[in-house]
Structures are given as structure tokens and as C-alpha cells.
């Protein structure tokens, strides 16, 4: 709509204001129902794939091939799950858990240390570090695949847990979140502790950090999800089957290992199980994630 058109429509709207209000009210009732229907269909589209993948995990191969849409298996079978657990699946799960725990706790701790230093402490080179942070944030992670392998390799960390986890601790965005949050906490809260003679770390640890819980939760969620779902780094940092994570293992499964052909129940079962931990995390922190997207964003 152009501006000149508006010139005509807007006064008209005003002159017929009362009539229009009634009409609007009526219309909104109908449109309300329409909105529910539209959103309902959309929600179904978003959820149905997950329901399908759960349902098909319990089907037999021919059933899954013939009735992919059906949510009820013809014969309920746990064969796919059994095959998964006979294979390396438990190992993959364990490795994913190790990576997630190490990376998440590491990020929460180191990000807050660094964020605190950048927001509260004056030290020479601070500006430089800050500039470095912004610079590295702009490098897309996919671009780093090859070079990360080269460095991990040179450091002798290839094919070790160290190589899988330590590089993932690098999280410039997380430092930013912490830095911004610390800046929003008034400096005066540290005053009392300072007068009591508390050192920098004590002030950080027992005064400021407890106040930063919302930001810490944000880092926790992002890191958990990010490291649990990380695939490309696992591809380039390991080779032993003993070090496979779920992402790498399931990716391998998808491209045909364990079965000669498209045995979907087993793949879907694997996909479903690997979704469970993030789903649990999601539902635990649902309020936090949903209500305050500004929680994650604004802090």
C-alpha cells in the first residue's frame, strides 16, 4: 500500500469507527477459529514427523515400508531397538554424554570467568582480547573443519577425548552473553565484599556469579544442545569406533552400516533415542526458553 492510498483509507476508517468496531468484533470471533485451525494444522506438521519416527521405531521393516504414515505398528516389535543395543549404540551414547558433560561444564565455567574479566576487570590487553573475540565470532564453523583437524593433529590430540572436547570449549558467543549480563549487574553489589577485603575471585565466585544464574542457565542450555548435537567436529577429530558419538554413529547408520539397505525402523529408533536427552532438557527449561526468549536474548 502506498502512502497516497493510505491518505484515503485512514480517514474513512475513522468516520465509520463505531460500525467498524462491531464488525471487527464479529470478525475476530470467526477469524479466531480460523487461526486455531491454521495453527493446529501447522503444529501437526511440526510434530508429526517426530510421532512418525517414534511409531516406525516399533515396526518391522516391511510394515514401515508399506505404511510409513501410520502411527500404529501392525505388529509391535522391539527388534530395531534390540539390534541397536546389540551394536555399538551404548558406546555412542556414553561418548555423547561424556562430551556433553565436559563441554557444558567447561563452557559454563570458562565463559563466566572470561565474561567477568571482560566486564569488570581492567587489565592491559583487554581491548585486544575483545577485538579478537569479535573477529573469531565471525568465522563460520564449517570453514574451520579442515584447519581444526590440522591443529588437533599437530597437538597429538587426534582420536582422543581431549580432541573431541577441548576445541568445543571455544565459545565466543557464550563469553558475550556472560559479559553483557555481568555488565547489567550494578558495580555496587561488590562494594560490601570489597570492603570486607574479599579478593577478585571471591567477589566473582560468591557475589556476582550467584546473581548471574539466568545467564548461566542460558549458557548451559545452549552448550548442552550444541555439544550433544555436534557432528562435524566429531567427524574430523576421531576415527576409532570406540570414540563414536551418537551423531557420528547415527550418521554412519543412515548411510548404510549395520544393514544392507534402507532399514528404516532401526535408523528411526536411533534418531528417536538421540533426541530424548535434548527433549528432556527442553521440557525442563521450557519456561525459561519460551517465556523469556528475552532471557536468552536480552540478558
Amino acid at each position: 500500500m502506498t502512502a497516497s492510498e493510505l491518505q484515503h483509507t485512514v480517514p474513512e476508517v475513522r468516520s465509520a469507527k463505531n460500525r467498524r468496531f462491531d464488525k471487527l468484533a464479529r470478525r475476530s470471533r470467526y477469524s479466531g477459529i480460523l487461526v486455531y485451525i491454521a495453527l493446529g494444522i501447522l503444529a501437526l506438521v511440526y510434530i508429526y514427523p517426530f510421532l512418525i519416527s517414534i511409531a516406525n521405531s516399533f515396526k518391522l521393516d516391511p510394515d514401515a515400508a508399506a505404511n510409513p504414515i501410520s502411527l500404529i505398528p501392525q505388529t509391535f516389535s522391539t527388534e530395531a531397538l534390540q539390534r541397536l543395543f546389540e551394536a555399538d549404540f551404548p558406546t555412542w551414547f556414553k561418548n555423547s554424554a561424556i562430551v556433553t558433560v565436559v563441554v557444558t561444564s567447561g563452557r559454563v565455567f570458562f565463559n563466566s570467568l572470561a565474561g567477568y574479566a571482560l566486564s569488570r576487570l581492567r587489565f592491559p590487553g583487554r581491548g585486544l582480547v575483545f577485538a579478537l573475540l569479535i573477529a573469531v565470532m565471525s568465522v563460520p564453523s564449517v570453514v574451520l573443519l579442515i584447519p581444526k583437524f590440522l591443529v588437533i593433529n599437530e597437538l597429538g590430540m587426534y582420536d582422543t577425548y581431549a580432541g573431541m572436547t577441548i576445541p568445543l570449549l571455544a565459545d565466543a558467543a557464550g563469553i558475550f552473553i556472560m559479559k553483557n549480563f555481568f555488565e547489567s549487574i550494578p558495580a555496587s553489589v561488590e562494594e560490601a565484599a570489597r570492603i570486607d577485603g574479599a579478593g577478585v575471585f571471591r567477589r566473582f565466585w560468591s557475589v556476582v556469579l550467584p546473581m548471574a544464574r539466568p545467564a548461566l542457565v542460558t549458557i548451559f542450555i545452549l552448550s548442552f544442545q550444541g555439544s550433544w548435537n555436534e557432528m562435524s567436529h566429531m567427524i574430523i577429530s576421531t576415527q576409532s569406533p570406540e570414540l563414536f558419538t551418537l551423531t557420528k554413529g547415527v550418521a554412519q547408520l543412515a548411510s548404510g552400516a549395520l544393514s544392507a539397505g534402507t532399514q528404516y525402523p532401526i535408523k528411526l529408533a536411533a534418531a528417536t533415542i538421540m533426541t530424548i536427552p535434548v527433549a528432556v532438557l527442553f521440557f525442563i527449561f521450557q519456561k525459561k526458553i519460551m517465556n523469556s526468549s528475552d532471557g536468552a536474548v536480552k540478558e
Binding site: F50, S53, V142, V151, P167, N180, Q225, A254, A271
Partner: protein, 391 residues
């Protein structure tokens, strides 16, 4: 961004803080340096070397070859160039389709679920956001199943009388298909005879293959939730303002949205576009898990090509060069987008609306424009939730 740097009060504390500051920051500086800065420098060297993937790239047997690797990709006709051109083509369609759709859809969802009258808002938000938290590997496996030749999607299409395509095996681009339906099978000579990056213009105009379309749908499916949350939070921040302005104007819901809300959402839209641009050029996981570039290389992306050149074909220099070109593309696109959007901002729609619009009596004391040119700080904050999901 607020700066609350306090001045050290005691002289001793200054040096003290300096030590503490470095101690606090050193773990992250070491990690960032080791795994972000040094890798980039190393890759830069590899991209101008003839390292073939044996032993150290710094060994004396590895030679400097100048821009050879880049030239093979950009200027010398050959397989390397046509593969690279193909990957750029594929990814361009991905970017061109994913960004507008995901932005529009996430905005639509946000506006819908942000309505106060809506019951079950929590449910809808959860439903739309859930795909964003799940792993790209799991989603790809699910989509491979849904879109297999005799899969759920084709069964559903069949039920309504449509013959679904062979999603993962038909290498034809959808534009070529459409042209084929209109009887245009052979390319005009002007398009077939000339080209760019080893692909004729006719090939460039193929459109995405059905397989690429599946990945496009998947990207929208997995990212719209994240971006919806960004829009919701922005909407919540300006809710009062919009209502106030809207009621005063007596504008209808649509008018209010188009002329007041939308301009106010510009900073968030900008963020969403930027994140979209960065994310959509890095398609890797889906390709690795799903198609490995097939059918007929129509799902080959620069990120995957970079990986496969290095790790499977031992062309490490070429792989690193692709990564750097990809980096340059992303940076260039982001800058370009900034320039384009900044120019528009000189004449915000909202102002126009008021200037030419209703008589002065209705115009309320104009609230301070929310269109403060994007503080880059705010951008940074916004960027975090999305980044991980796009890949």
C-alpha cells in the same frame, strides 16, 4: 551497551586486577587461539601449498604454490571448477529460498502465537520450537524416511491425487522441470554456450533438485522456531507501544501490523536475515548424513565439497581454498545485506505513514522511534540462540 567499568580505588588493586583479569581470561584466550586463530592461519598456508595430506604441512617437502588452488576453482576450466560452480549454484538456491521463507514463516508464527487472546500459546510455541532443539542428524534421518520414494510424503500426496517426485533420485532442477512441462527441453543457444564457473547459464538456471528442496524444507522446519522466539521477544518488547499507536490511529489489525509493527521489528528482522545468511551458506551435516551430494551432485554444497576434497580425495589445498572462498562469500553477503538494509532505513515506513497520513490531531506524541540503527552489540546478543541450529 553499558560500560560499568569502575575505577580502581586503591593503587594496589590495579595491578592486582590486571593479574586477575589475565588469569580469568587466559583459559579462553588459549582455547580460542589454539582452535580458532591458529587453525585459520594454518589453513591459509595449506590453501597456498601443495600439501597432499601426508605428514606435517610444514615439512620441507611441502611447496608454496601461490594461488594455484584458488585458480583451479575460479579461473581454470576443469572438473574442480565445475564442481565448485555446481556447489555454489546449489547453495545459492538454498539461500534464496530458505531465507525468505524462514523469515516470513517465523514472523508469521510469532505474530500468531503472541496474540493475548490465543489459548494454548505455550503448546503452539513448544510445537514450533521443538524441531530447533533436535540434532540435525536425527532430523535428516527422519526426513530421508518421510521423503523416500514410497515414503510418507509421497503416500500423502498420492492420497490427494498427486504423483510425488522421486525426491532423492531425480537430478532435474525444478525450474528445468517446469520449463520441460511447457515444452522447453533444449536450452537456447545463448544459455547453453556460455557460462560461469564451469557451468553453462542453462545449468545455473536449473533450479534446486527435489533432493535440495527437501533440505530447504528441512531448514525451514528446523530454524523457524528459533527465529520465531526472536520475533516473539521483540514483539513483547514493543507490545504496549504498538497498541497505543494502533488504538489512537483506529487502524485495523492488518494495517497496524504492516505500518507499525513491521517497521518496529526491523532490527530483529535484520538479525534474522543476517543469521540466516550465515547459516544457509554452511550446509554440511544434512549432506553428509543424507545424500553426500547426490543425485548428480545437485546437493553438493561448498562446505561439503571442501570436506570431501580434503578428507576423501587428499586435495587438502583445494579443500582449504574452498573454505576460504566460502568464508569470503559469507562476509561479502553479510556486508552487502547491511548496506542494502541501511539505505532503506533512511526513510522508514512508519514516518512516511505519519507524514502523509492522518490529520495531525490523531497523531500521538510520536514514540521515540524504535528504529535506532542496529547497535552491533544487540546483534551479538541476538545471534547466540540461532547459530547452533542452522547447521
Amino acid at each position: 551497551m553499558m560500560k560499568r567499568l569502575k575505577k580502581p580505588k586503591e593503587g594496589g588493586a590495579h595491578g592486582h586486577e590486571a593479574v586477575a583479569g589475565w588469569l580469568f581470561i587466559s583459559p579462553m584466550v588459549i582455547i580460542l587461539g589454539l582452535f580458532l586463530v591458529i587453525p585459520v592461519l594454518m589453513a591459509a598456508w595449506v590453501s597456498v601449498s601443495d600439501w597432499t595430506g601426508r605428514g606435517s604441512p610444514f615439512a620441507s617437502t611441502v611447496n608454496f604454490v601461490g594461488t594455484d588452488n584458488y585458480a583451479k576453482l575460479l579461473t581454470e576450466p576443469g572438473l574442480a571448477q565445475s564442481d565448485f560452480g555446481m556447489s555454489i549454484k546449489n547453495n545459492s538456491y538454498y539461500v534464496l529460498l530458505v531465507i525468505p521463507i524462514q523469515t516470513a514463516l517465523s514472523l508469521f508464527l510469532a505474530v500468531m502465537v503472541n496474540r493475548r487472546v490465543l489459548k494454548g500459546r505455550g503448546f503452539f510455541r513448544t510445537a514450533f520450537y521443538f524441531p530447533s532443539v533436535t540434532s540435525s542428524v536425527a532430523i535428516t534421518v527422519i526426513f530421508l524416511f518421510l521423503f523416500s520414494t514410497t515414503g510418507a510424503v509421497n503416500k500423502a500426496l498420492h492420497a490427494i491425487g498427486v504423483n510425488g517426485p522421486q525426491w532423492f533420485s531425480d537430478p532435474k532442477g525444478i525450474l528445468h522441470m517446469a520449463l520441460g512441462n511447457m515444452g522447453i527441453d533444449t536450452p537456447p543457444a545463448a544459455l547453453a554456450g556460455h557460462g560461469f564457473l564451469g557451468n553453462s547459464w542453462w545449468q545455473w538456471l536449473s533450479g534446486p533438485s527435489p533432493a535440495m528442496c527437501v533440505f530447504i524444507i528441512m531448514a525451514v522446519f528446523t530454524t523457524s522456531g528459533t527465529f520465531m522466539l526472536l520475533f516473539i521477544s521483540a514483539l513483547q518488547n514493543l507490545q504496549g507501544e504498538v497498541e497505543e499507536a494502533g488504538i489512537m490511529d483506529g487502524a485495523s489489525g492488518w494495517q497496524r501490523f504492516w505500518h507499525i509493527t513491521l517497521p518496529m521489528l526491523k532490527p530483529t528482522t535484520f538479525t534474522v536475515l543476517t543469521l540466516g545468511l550465515i547459516g544457509t551458506w554452511q550446509v554440511f551435516d544434512q549432506i553428509y548424513v543424507g545424500t553426500k551430494g547426490n543425485p548428480s551432485k545437485t546437493t553438493l554444497t561448498p562446505a561439503y565439497l571442501s570436506y570431501s576434497s580434503s578428507f576423501q580425495n587428499n586435495q587438502w589445498g583445494r579443500g582449504a581454498a574452498i573454505a576460504f572462498i566460502l568464508f569470503a562469500i559469507i562476509v561479502a553477503m553479510t556486508i552487502l545485506q547491511r548496506i542494502v538494509l541501511r539505505d532503506r532505513k533512511t526513510l522508514p515506513k512508519r514516518k512516511r505513514f505519519y507524514r502523509d497520513g492522518p490529520p495531525s490531531a490523531v497523531v500521538p506524541a510520536t514514540p521515540t522511534s524504535p528504529l535506532v540503527p542496529t547497535a552491533s552489540g544487540a546483534q551479538m546478543d541476538d545471534s547466540t540462540p540461532g547459530e547452533g541450529d542452522q547447521r
